[in-house]
């Protein structure tokens, strides 16, 4: 009799799917994206990033005032201690204690939106896999498994009450964690957040020169991995030179291709990325750099097809 009841419960659970938790993964993603608009919060967060073969653990305090003001103060490691980032709507500033100066960081990037979410749902198998306790709060656990090989998987913890994202993790297909973030303590809707925390006071660096049109024919790749599409083209001003930025995305991951006219000077000092895969090459008088969390052979394939 018990076993029959158990079977019935399992069947009901299978048919109900994510509905047992009250929302589909798509709904949860949308609510999580919009949560900042509806809640104030204050918490301590740790971020772990694979950096040059080691894991860098960064600790910070985050204060948010709805709908779109956030102040983040970095405590550790010493390399970042004292840095403050203030985001106010689409604008952002970063404070460097060493220089005692605020630097505008420009547009902070819009939340992902319906189109990006649809793209993510198309290219990833996104499932609600259960619930867990994070920072003393019950959270839904959402897992995004890539539908195409070579892509990383993602995990997200969403607060069950206010839908705030309280944890995030990116991992390889073999389960190695590349990056993660998680609140270790969190207060929702505290009544004592002072609005003056989000004001930028002190010396401010002049904004970077606005980029003009590149003035050259932008070369595009004829190959991008499955699921990716060109979503935007932007212009940057890099060392006074116009630079084109091609942006490809699959709803979760991104590939950037930068290109500008190659200089005739001696080769500049080079730096190798430790946080994402990067390739740089010159062709037909242009210098290209490609960045993305993809295996290097894939980046090379894209690079080879950029003509």
């Amino acid at each position: 009799m018990i076993s029959r009841q158990l079977k019935l419960a399992l069947v009901a659970l299978l048919f109900a799917g994510p509905g047992v938790f009250g929302a589909t993964p798509g709904d949860l993603l949308r609510r999580a994206e919009e949560a900042d608009k509806h809640v104030d919060y204050r918490g301590i967060k740790t971020v772990t990033v694979a950096f040059g073969g080691e894991n860098a653990v960064v600790r910070m305090k985050v204060v948010h005032l709805k709908p779109d003001r956030t102040r983040t103060v970095y405590f550790a490691p010493a390399l970042l201690a004292g840095i403050i980032v203030i985001r106010d709507g689409p604008d952002g500033w970063r404070y460097y204690p060493k220089e005692d100066v605020w630097e505008p960081i420009g547009h902070c990037g819009l939340p992902c939106g319906d189109a990006v979410r649809r793209e993510a749902l198309r290219n990833y198998d996104i499932r609600l896999v259960g619930t867990e306790r994070v920072a003393g709060r019950e959270a839904y656990v959402i897992h995004a498994l890539p539908r195409y090989r070579g892509e990383a998987a993602h995990r997200m913890w969403v607060d069950q009450q206010c839908y705030l994202v309280i944890g995030m993790q990116t991992e390889t297909s073999s389960g190695t964690v590349l990056r993660s973030s998680r609140y270790v303590s969190l207060q929702i809707d505290p009544s004592d957040i002072d609005a003056s925390l989000f004001e930028v006071r002190g010396k401010i660096k002049p904004a970077a020169r606005k980029a003009s049109a590149p003035g050259f024919k932008v070369m595009k790749p004829s190959y991008v991995p499955d699921g990716y599409r060109l979503v935007a083209t932007a212009s940057l001003c890099v060392n006074g030179c116009a630079c084109s930025h091609l942006q490809f995305a699959n709803g979760v991951n991104t590939i950037s291709i930068f290109q500008h006219k190659a200089g005739k000077d001696a080769p500049a000092q080079k730096v190798e990325s430790k946080v994402t895969n990067t390739l740089t090459w010159t062709r037909d008088g242009m210098e290209f750099t490609i960045m993305g969390d993809l295996p290097r052979p894939e980046l090379k394939k894209i690079a080879d097809s950029t003509k």
Binding site: E33, K45, V47, V49, F51, A56, V58, V62, T72, L79, L80, I83, V85, G106, H107, C108, G109, C112, V116, R117, A120, A144, M156, V165, M168, T170, R179, A232, L236, V238, N239, C243, H245, A249, G251, V252, T254, S256, F258, A268, Q269, K270, V271, E272, S273, K274, V275, T276, L279, T280, W281, T282, R283, D284, E287, F288, T289, G292, K300, A303
Partner: protein, 163 residues
């Protein structure tokens, strides 16, 4: 003499090629062994029938054509005939192809030399722009991308300050 030995020398006996001793032994054997005697008779009949066939000449005179071929092969050849021999021509063609790939194609195709590094002065701009773009995707935590970029900037700055 046994049957096997007798069988082996039947043809020689009929041809009259056996020494007297072997001939006597063979005759003694076939007088006592009906099977070997029957084989001997069969062989003799077959050879007699073959020898009765008349010899016919060919209706076509092949000699002039054969002679022309012999004369042609015997004549000395120019150098290019030697070079066209497959043993020489095949490696030569392969060598030519390799030289073409090594000398001509690079100039036309300009195969890019790819490295995993970007110019230090540009890298800061690139990683910031890439991170800003990444933040607009699903499953992106702005703090994670910001931390990654800040760690990179700090490292690059430290590298730059080093003598």
């Amino acid at each position: 003499m046994n049957c096997k030995n007798a069988c082996n020398i039947t043809s020689d006996y009929i041809d009259g090629c056996l020494p007297p001793q072997a001939r006597c032994e063979y005759e003694a054997h076939i007088s006592q062994c009906p099977e070997c005697a029957a084989e001997h008779d069969e062989m003799r009949r077959m050879l007699s029938a073959l020898s009765s066939l008349s010899v016919r000449g060919s209706s076509v005179d092949c000699w002039p054509a054969l002679r022309a071929i012999i004369v042609e092969r015997g004549r000395p050849r120019p150098v290019w005939h030697f070079l066209l021999r497959p043993v020489i021509a095949a490696p030569a063609a392969a060598l030519a192809a390799v030289l073409t790939v090594m000398l001509v194609l690079p100039a036309q195709m300009q195969t890019p030399d790819m490295s995993s590094s970007a110019s230090m002065s540009e890298y800061g701009h690139y990683i910031t722009a890439h991170a800003r773009f990444q933040r607009q995707q699903a499953f992106a935590d702005p703090d994670v991308t910001f931390v990654a970029v800040e760690l990179e900037r700090a490292r690059v700055a430290a590298d730059r300050d080093q003598p």
